[in-house]
Symmetry: D2
Subunit: 353 residues, 4 copies
């Protein structure tokens, strides 16, 4: 590429914003040129305002950017949004209206009927709803595209190969989620040391509904939600990063264990075909060891972009059960949104403005 | 009581053995008078041989006991067995044959057709199989009674009130189990720091089968196993004590949420009626807060003998779902076995020899 | 006692306030009758306003108390203050002026020249400065008495026996402090998981100065500060409760290791002689095992009121070195203040108002 | 380089051995061609015998190597030894005798008067003792070179710049060491959860003596030990990797804080001048934030090869104090030994055999 697209980060000082900045360092297509945050930080240099929590160094070029208020215009060709849900809804619309593509990690627009809820390895075809969105909303160059919740993504990455081959009808899933999912400062340390918290506000609803849109069929600009019943139990456990999930699934068509394993192993999708820069080599890695995936051991597989599945075995009540692991702040947040941007760029939805 | 029964501890230096000794200090009916272990420790004073891992002090009287080999005779009226499964089977039989009641925490005899697998709050009536056992095996004063696995017990304490009132037909359960469940030295620290391990050898089989005997009907000296299908996912998480479980249940008879909650709250059983010394006031405590039970906050409820249930809510796939917590080394091991002994004493199965 | 003294808790909803309420349940001399907090909570029932973080149940009688603003009058004979340092200074003076004895856990008045900084096992004679304080400030029945910082107390409990017998001249101490010392919500979990933080704001200054007043001689209403140089390194580590400290001490008079050990073991003070209800049997427990005290294993010794010392050995640079452990939220906060109140009651400074 | 040197790993299945294999993947000069272990593993393929605990994948080429007994001959040009101290002494001598350069991480030969105890950034000149060693022992191409203990290395990296400029006379150091320092399975999880263990067998002796040889002057084949008194308190804390140390130092020549900071910042040594492949850009990184270095945040700086120093401030008893952090299994073990090999190769001590 002769010239990189200029990127703005909305909510740049927060956890997700920092992860965007970290992951975009040395990105072959994109370059951070603008950072926006709330009034508390606006006007300061990023390097001075941010409480940098990544373990790699903050790049000098971003540290020197002056933080803007999260309002258009921003000096960039598109924006990533890591805004808090309290403000994300309106601000994202404002940017889209002003001509900026908005690749959002926030929940606000996920269920808008003209907004794609996108995982490039799962439903890349949903991207075309953007044309309809632009028409509906009168957006020109701008649009909104969203990523799913961090605990949804691992689950759906695992369900997709099964749904394609055998049809999924019922899912009971118990999550064991990392503390980083609560952001910073997030969870008080006294709450999680030597403890499990069996509740995460709003999380079970997301896990039970988002897969239905992600696995939906898009027909004449309407999403036909997948006909899957999901029951989720969401727990917070004492790990830094990585959401591990115990899953039991009922399939529409009976099949053998070998074919289930093969469905996971052989699954490939657009990001792999297009060799997108952040794409994992394989969307789903199957572990054969009886005690894998493990959160700390496997979360960073393929730079945190691969989903790991293991313990695939028959379920005495449903058909099969397994354990799935996904990195919640990489694949489940900033990394997933960057992969979305890569697909959107490939398809011509992102351009130099 | 004018005179306490004398207790021998088999496997006295191990984790479960230590917990027996701790919990029996100041017991109103029982007194530790003999400790037995393997050849490595036999002949030494208990206080010198043991690597004492309890946070309360080892009593002087037990510290001064000389460790015997785990073979009859022992100076005691009955024995608790915290033996490793590799050796427990034969040794327990040997003691029973020699006239000693054996209250075992080991898995070996749990499924013997003439041995009770006992939770006093759940199936106190199973105790009478001991008469049959004695006859079958030619035991005189001796017998074997067993306790369930530490991850079974919380689940069954929660299933019993539901099974009594509405009938339970299917259960999908995901456990988040404490490291103390693996004994000492048990789990290497490098394996569990910042990690979840989605596998515990043999555990899922126990959770899927033991409840069927615990909830069985005993008819003419035969256990009619409960007709419940159970699917278990067992995970090890970073907590010291306390097994937390996310449970979805299908009932035989439809009912309302209120009646499910009431079933938990109103459940009482023999230990409560008899006011056994180690009985919790209520077998099941219901928490109303949306984020409870939590492992560290609730595991010690009623000295670790109560089971705590919370987050009771409808399940979109089965009927209801909830979270249950039980202290794995107290109720789930030594404390549960002591409660068994208390019931057995009350019923006349334990006596001064 | 025919009638218990009525106690008010200032800052009742905070961490220290909760611990006061927990430890005062069933206290033989004192009874909580008033709870005060900030405007946010005032007017609500305590049981509804508090985010109860203790693992024992909140007593019904306290749960039913209506929270008052932290201003006199309060229905009580004296107050414990667990107020935040931002507001503690003035409020405590206001209560003292209004006739209430104030037993404070806050730092504000610790170095007032007419206020005792008190550990009953260390400097019970300092209590008489209260008479002078009352005269100076025109207080009638009221006064202010303070407790030291949570990381000071274990250190001073260990230095006192040595200072009495041999004189202490220099101390280099490195603390490894619990997360509960930062209160609630306090330390974010992402900051401490798999981490050590080598800094606690203001802590080193406290550890370096408070011992000088605690070990001071009180002569004609003036504190002659102890002539000890202290260098402190304060670190936050991943434990819930209990501050462990590695200490090297230089003595004024040379002595043998045996005599150092004996000085610790034989130390007794007023709380032991008076058998105060919260007094540990021995102020300092000496552990002989090479790897003790350990934070989790020993912090609860004697209900968290004893200080544990171990690894006593020569120091190649100073004279001796050792490890000391103290429970930071019991002995180092609420429990220590309650022991202060017990001594003050015994000496006639606390009465029915 | 046209051809890489062939490397053998002694103790290849252990923690240190695994780290060697991980860090040598893609090394520009060295290539693992032989793996040796105890009888239990010998004869098996490495990929089948090893319980791989690294979070990166085991390379196929090493997985396919057949494990040999740790006895010469081995197909390699030199060996790294991560052997257990129980056997390392003799085996290392045997290999050196057989002509193999032995770069050891074990403690056995560290204090042999003709063996270098080497940190390339600290005492690269000590390397010449190898010539004397060969003469003394009749070794031809073989020799033994050792690395210091994992808790020594961070300390000495920090002391060296100070000793060069101002002379160091006394050091009191308290370590907070990671669980990985105990190897695998190493520390039981029940021992370290919510705990600090104030003792690590043999560790304090190493920290107090190894720096004296590392900072020694080598004169006519004799090490004149540095005249520094060190007092060490070694603690195990709940972190995976990274040893953090609180240090107070007395200098021989008074100096200003600014010059102390500058000494750290400006320090450079042979690995930097020679641009050795594993050399950190700067041996010592100075952090200005008041709460750094932190174990998890800073241990991986410069691929775990840099030492991080922070909180540099005057000490009220000695002259200065600071916090130092070093990655114990990279710089403090396998990575440090690899850097030794790189220097040895540069100086001609390692060659194609």
């Amino acid at each position: 590429m002769s010239k990189k697209l200029r990127v703005g980060i909305l909510g740049a000082t927060g956890s997700v914003g920092q992860r965007f900045i970290q992951l975009l360092e040395n990105h072959p297509w994109f370059k951070v040129t603008a950072v926006a945050a709330s009034e508390r930080s606006a006007g300061k240099l990023y390097g001075e305002a941010v409480n940098w929590k990544m373990t790699t160094c903050l790049s000098h070029s971003v540290a020197q950017l002056k933080i803007k208020l999260a309002k258009p215009p921003l000096k960039c060709d598109f924006v990533f949004s890591g805004l808090d849900a309290v403000v994300a809804g309106e601000i994202e619309e404002e940017f889209a209206q002003a001509g900026y593509p908005v690749i959002s990690n926030s929940k606000n627009h996920r269920f808008d009927p003209d907004v794609p809820l996108l995982i490039p390895d799962v439903n890349p075809d949903h991207i075309t709803i953007i044309d309809y969105q632009r028409k509906q909303r009168g957006y020109t160059t701008g649009f909104i595209a969203t990523s799913p919740n961090c605990s949804t993504i691992g689950l759906v990455m695992a369900l997709k190969p099964l749904d394609d081959k055998f049809g999924v009808s019922k899912v009971i899933v118990t999550t064991m989620q990392a503390i980083s999912g609560a952001g910073y400062p997030g969870l008080p340390s006294m709450d999680i040391i030597d403890n499990v918290i069996p509740y995460i506000g709003g999380e079970e609803e997301k896990v039970e509904t988002e897969p239905l849109k992600l696995l939906a069929k898009l027909k004449r600009n309407r999403f036909e939600l997948a006909k899957i019943k999901i029951s989720a139990h969401c727990n917070r456990v004492h790990v830094l990063d990585g959401h591990l999930e115990s899953v039991s699934v009922k399939l529409k068509n009976k099949t053998s264990l070998n074919r289930v394993v093969a469905a996971f192993k052989n699954y490939r999708s657009e990001p792999q075909k297009l060799k997108l820069p952040s794409a994992p080599e394989k969307p789903v890695i199957v572990k054969n060891e009886p005690d894998r995936p493990q959160t700390r051991m496997d979360r960073d597989t393929d730079k945190g972009m691969a989903t790991t599945v293991g313990r695939i075995r028959p379920c005495p009540i449903f058909d099969y059960r397994f354990t799935v692991l996904s990195h919640n702040t990489i694949r489940g947040a900033a990394g997933g949104a960057i992969l979305n941007a890569e697909l959107l760029f490939n398809r011509g939805y992102l351009k130099l403005l």
